[in-house]
Structure formats: C-alpha cells, structure tokens
Amino acid sequence: MRLRQTLVLLLLGAYTLFAAGPFVWVAMMSVRTTTEISRNHYAWPEQWHWHKFADAWFGSGYQVYFTNSTLVVCSAVALLTLVGAMAAYALARYRFRANRTIYFILFSTIIFPPQITVIALFQILVQYGLYNSLIGLTLVYVAIQLPLTIYLLETFFQRIPGELFDAARIDGYGELEVFWKIALPIALPALSTTVILNTILLWNEFLYAVVLITDESSRTLPLGIQRFMGDQQQDTGMIATGLMIAIVPVVLIYVFFSEKLIKGMTAGAMK
C-alpha cells in the first residue's frame, strides 16, 4: 500500500514538473534580462528586474495589446454567450423541420481546421472593409467558437424538464421571457463553462489574429509577444515578460473558476 502510494506520488510529482516546469522557467526569465538569460538559460534570477513589466507595459506597447485583447475577447465572449445560448435553446426546445440538419451543419464545422477557413475569412473581411479591425477580429472569433458553444449549451438545455417552460407559459410568459427568466438562470453552470472556455481559448488565439491584423495599434497580446521575435535575433527576456502578462489573467480565471468549469461540464449528468 505504501509502495503504491509512493509510486503514485512520484508519478504525480513527475507530471507536475513536466507541466509546471516550463511555466516556472518563463516566470524566472520574465524578471531576468536577455543578457543574463544568454549567459545561463536556467539560472535563478540574480537580480529581480521587476521594472521589465513596467517597460513592457508602457514602453513596448503592451498596454495597447492588453486593452485590445480585453476588448476583443470580452466582446466576442459576450456575443458568443448571447447568440450561442439563443441558438442552443431554439435547437434544444423547439421542434421544426430543419432542426437536426442545422444542428449537424453547425456541429460539423468544428472538424474544419482553422488553416482551411482563414484565407476565405481574410477575403470576406477585406471585401467588407473589416480587415485590420478589432470588430472584424471579434466577428471572426464569434464565428469560429459558435459551433462549440452551441453544442455545449444545447446538450444542457435539452436536459431541463419541459414542464418548467410549460409552467412559465401558463404563468403568462412569452417565449422570449421564458428564455430570459427561466432558461438562462437555470443554465448558469453551463453558461459559466462556455464563458470560461471561450475566454481562455480566444485570449490565446494567434492564427486568425496574425492573418487578420497587421496594424500595430490593433494588435492583440499574442501578436504583441511575437513582435519581439525577429528573423535574426529575439529579445528573449521581453518575450518572457510579455508571456507572463498574457498568461496571468488566464491562470487567475482558471484558479478561481475551475470548480465552476467542472461543475458546468458535468451539470445534468446525474439526476
């Protein structure tokens, strides 16, 4: 028994090192200069250069990148939650002829890798004058995450007993009111899950951003970090600092909301 426990602990410890190791390394590099890093990649900081964060924020444009990322992600997640919830509710609760066809079409787009759709999206945004704009990027993010959002929420809405909605209709509420006052509050665990998932995914999104945004003032955080990666050389210290600025909000969301995330994933799985 003790041997088994020791083995399990060793395995878990090894995996923790494997998973957390790179993060700790980047964190250490974020407070070291590029010169110090070049001398010894893995050394503990001799001096803790906290000013690098201020330099990155004010001097290297991270304030702009962070603001852009926040605007785009918050707008996209808000739209995704609203539109996705309404679409999922309609597909889950209403019987109409094309219901399963629409659901299948939406769901099947999940299998397409982004490399297939990015060129077409580029052309569409150029055509509508939305290329190099935060609005264009927001709309693209909504489009790419909507199928997954609808899929997660549709399953949850299906499990809500229909009698709850019948009771609300008899109480005098119209279909939109039933959705707002009954369905959405009950679906809060699932909505929280989709909000958290979408925030994490879109915050780190790079491919669509790098293709659809070239203007310096419209860059999001992943693009801002890429600025420090040149063809001939790269500022490793500032890359690490930028990464930490980008990672911290995601880690905080996960630390505080992971329980909600898991609850939302399993909500309704058991009676």
């Binding site: 709850l164 019948d166 009771a167 609300a168 209709r169 008899i170 005098g172 509420y173 009954i182 009950i186």
Partner: protein, 374 residues
C-alpha cells in the same frame, strides 16, 4: 369555477399516423373534481395538455365557460396547472415561485403579497418562504406547486399526476389535503392519474381512457360496479374483475353458464338484463374477487357453487387472496376471502359467486350487456 366542454376532441401528431386522442366528448361541470384515469399512453395527459393549451387541438372544439379556446394561448385561458414533477423554478425561493405568475399579470405588490400570504397560510408554507426548492422535501415542493396554482385563483385547476413522485404514506395524506382543498375552494378541477385509489377516492366522476378514447364516464362506484366493457372491468379493481368466457346452456332449472366442465345457474344474473340470452350465446361473465365466497358463506344471489383447486394463497393479514383453477377453464380465477380462510395449495374448495353483482359482457365486442334500470 367554470364549465369545461370537450366536443369531439382529437390529437394527431403526424397527419398519417394513428391519433393519440380520438373523439373525446366530455362536459365537466362547475365545481366538479373530474378524474381522467387510464394506463400509461392512453391519452389522458395529452387531453389535459390540450385543455391547458400546451398542445394544439387537431380536431374538435374546447370550450371553457362557453368560450371557444382552440386558438387561445395557454396564458389567456385562466387555468392553473400542477405538474407531476412540480416544475418549481429552481433559481427562485418559495415566495418568488408563488409570486412569479402574478407579477407577469401586473398585479400590484400589495395584492401579490396578500395572495401569497393566503396561499402560504392555507398550505402551511410560512416557514419555507425563503427557501429554494432544492432545500424542500417532496411533500413541501408539492404544496408549493399547489400554492402557485391557488394564488392565480383560476377558473379551472389542472393536475397532471401530482402525487406520483411522493412516497406511499405521503400520497395518502396529500390526497386527503387535496380533497379538502377542493371542498374549500369549490373549484373546477381536472385530475389525471393512473392510480385507481386516487381516482376512486377523490373524483366526483371518473373518466376511464384507453388508447386515446373514452371508455366510460361516471361516478366512481357506478363505474366500479357497472363497467361498460371488459377493459374497464379489467382495469378497475385490484385484483381486477375475473372475466370468464362462458357459453349459455340450457339446464334443468333454466339457463346456465358453462364454465369449463361445470355449469353455473344464470337466473340471478338474467333478471337484471334487458334482453334475454339465447342458448349457445357466448358471453363473458365478470365477477369481482370480493364477490366470490368460499363454500358455506350464504348471500343474496348466490348460485350453485363451483368446484375449484387452489393454485396460490396470499395471506395479507386483513384478507386472503386466492388464485384458483376451474376444471376445463384456462383462465385462473382470483378470490378475495376472509383473512381466517387460508386453504393450502392444491386444496379443492367450493366457490360461491354473488351473481347479483356479476356483470355480463358480449364475448365479441366486450361491451356490457344492457341492464334493466334499478
């Protein structure tokens, strides 16, 4: 209070498929507690949902208080419904659950508070008003569901198997509470159940449904003692009525029923029939288990006895249930006898049926043969 009329009501889910409900004609009068009873899938809940406006009506007309309701939305029919699963809003406390429907109808805050307080007092919900549904027991949730209907003060109350999710003991007490509530409110109530005991004890009249059709409507004891057909006879009662196929034969003392190798004198049944039977006619003789006594017990209308062999004996304490075989008859016969009678398996006993209470059915159609009015 209101009168509810269903005229040739039907429901079809697919244009070419079989109807879920067909040709239902009912009139539920003011202040009546009308029970829709039947097996699962018989169409009773569908009929209730059509009355509520939660299902569209494919055929026929529904009227509440003389007004046609087919095209009227559920919220405008002035009805309240109590669901099997209570359908309480889980994100609201009891007070908000009770008030939710009233807020939508633009009642002012004082009126809402008054109605909520009254319903809460009637149903004993005062200690639970701040609780959410998940913190309530099954019985408490049931009362909140009732309260939500009461605060609306509707013309018609609809109940869709409201006691199904309660345990047996709670069901008994809640049944009594519902009956008392009906008397207090004097409201028109339509109650759907598959439980015979609920139907028999609560209904002013019961409507037996089967495969989307109405089989019989009448006061509970009337339907119990005079079933309209073999389905109603076999559905009501536990154990159900014994339905024995017999042929009418001529005997030394008049007509009799050939039951396997034995003949039972038919005189005490025939006197109640409107039309005479013919020799050779096939009938189904319906005798309730409680109308079968063991040899030696005399009573009005007892014919000659039938010899039977005991297959099983179930001593329930208050009574004994016997399953018996009649020689030459495939159908087993069930008898409910005195608790002190406990014949052993394999014993031969004499069965004395109380034929004055027996019902005769046509063997082909299953319909009860017409009786002379009492």
């Amino acid at each position: 209070m209101a009168q509810v009329e269903l005229n040739k009501i039907g429901k079809r889910y697919a244009a070419s498929g079989p109807p879920a409900v067909h040709d239902v004609n009912l009139t539920i009068t003011h202040g009546e507690l009308f029970v829709l009873l039947g097996p699962s899938g018989c169409g009773k809940s569908t009929t209730l949902r059509m009355i509520a406006g939660l299902e569209s009506i494919s055929e026929g007309e529904l009227r509440i208080d003389g007004h046609a309701m087919n095209q009227v939305a559920a919220k405008d029919r002035d009805i309240a419904m109590v669901f099997q699963s209570y359908a309480l809003y889980p994100h609201m406390d009891v007070r908000d659950n009770l008030a939710f429907g009233l807020r939508r109808r633009n009642f002012d805050a004082m009126e809402i508070a008054r109605r909520v307080a009254l319903a809460s007092q009637i149903l004993g919900l005062d200690p639970y008003l701040a609780r959410k549904p998940h913190a309530l027991s099954g019985g408490q949730r049931q009362r909140v569901a009732l309260g939500r209907a009461i605060v609306r003060d509707p013309k018609v109350f609809l109940f869709d198997e409201p006691l199904s999710n309660l345990d047996a003991a709670l069901r008994v007490s809640t049944r009594a509470e519902l009956t008392a509530l009906h008397e207090r409110l004097n409201a028109t109530m339509i109650y759907v159940t598959h439980d015979q005991v609920e139907a028999m004890t609560m209904g002013s009249r019961i409507c037996i449904m089967n495969q989307g059709r109405v089989e019989q409507v009448g006061p509970p004891l009337e339907v119990y003692h005079h079933p309209a057909n073999t389905f109603v006879a076999g559905f009501l009662g536990s154990p159900p009525m014994n339905l024995l196929t017999a042929q009418v034969v001529a005997g030394p003392s008049g007509l009799g029923f050939a039951l396997g190798e034995q003949v039972l004198a038919a005189a005490s049944v025939l006197q109640h029939l409107e039309l005479p039977l013919a020799v050779g006619q096939s009938v189904v003789l319906g005798v309730r288990p409680e109308d079968l006594a063991l040899g030696g017990a005399a009573g009005p209308g007892n014919g000659d006895g039938l010899g039977a062999r005991v297959r099983t004996t179930e001593a329930l304490g208050a009574e004994t249930l016997l399953m018996l075989e009649l020689p030459g008859l495939d159908t087993a016969v069930r008898a409910r006898v005195d608790r002190d009678s406990r014949p052993a398996r394999g014993d031969t006993v004499q069965l004395l049926p109380d034929l004055a209470r027996a019902v005769l059915f046509d063997a082909k159609s299953g319909m009860a043969l017409a009786r002379r009015p009492d």
